[in-house]
Symmetry: C2
Subunit: 122 residues, 2 copies
Amino acid sequence: MARTPVDLARKLSAFSDHWSPKVVARLNDYEVKVVKLAGEFVWHAHDDTDELFLVLAGTLTIRLEDGEVSLGPGQLFVVSRGVRHCPVADGEVHAVLIEPTGVVNTGDAGGPLTARYDDSLA
Amino acid sequence: MARTPVDLARKLSAFSDHWSPKVVARLNDYEVKVVKLAGEFVWHAHDDTDELFLVLAGTLTIRLEDGEVSLGPGQLFVVSRGVRHCPVADGEVHAVLIEPTGVVNTGDAGGPLTARYDDSLA
């Protein structure tokens, strides 16, 4: 029986909302999510976990309290647990997030950009 | 201070050996590895963990006991824990592996393709 892989571009073509990660795969107690980003997010931290960002399209800057990192397609960065950061997308960015199940996108900040859990594409 | 992201293509350009995963980033107690694959690997399973394959270049077929999955660039697949599988690369394949720290590439099979732990690119 032929299995179907997870095609990241196809998953990303299935939605248009920003800052709303969609679970596309699970790895033990971790989740692989795709997300579209545009503009500036909120400063926040995840006190209990690191968070991996992999950019597939566009340019994402992750502001940190002591600097920043700029990611283009095929580049990844891991924000360590407890590190305050603010993602800023130059235009629209397509990215993959990998983190433990249940991590909320706005971390300790909360607020209107807090996304509802969405595994409808998994 | 500007931080440097992990550029997957650049990491892959730094070596040429096959079936020898190189750690390029850490996410809690998980590792992100890049690897070059060519030809057929060995049938094996990882009894304690799922294993994520993301293909960046080439075509990778993962044979499973009840079928197979074929992955091209931008496609991923998670082999569930305990599932016997045999990766087969059509030509040279560049891929990302994500799994807990310490997972050995040949799992329960061992043998000459068992890779030495390599985090020299991390």
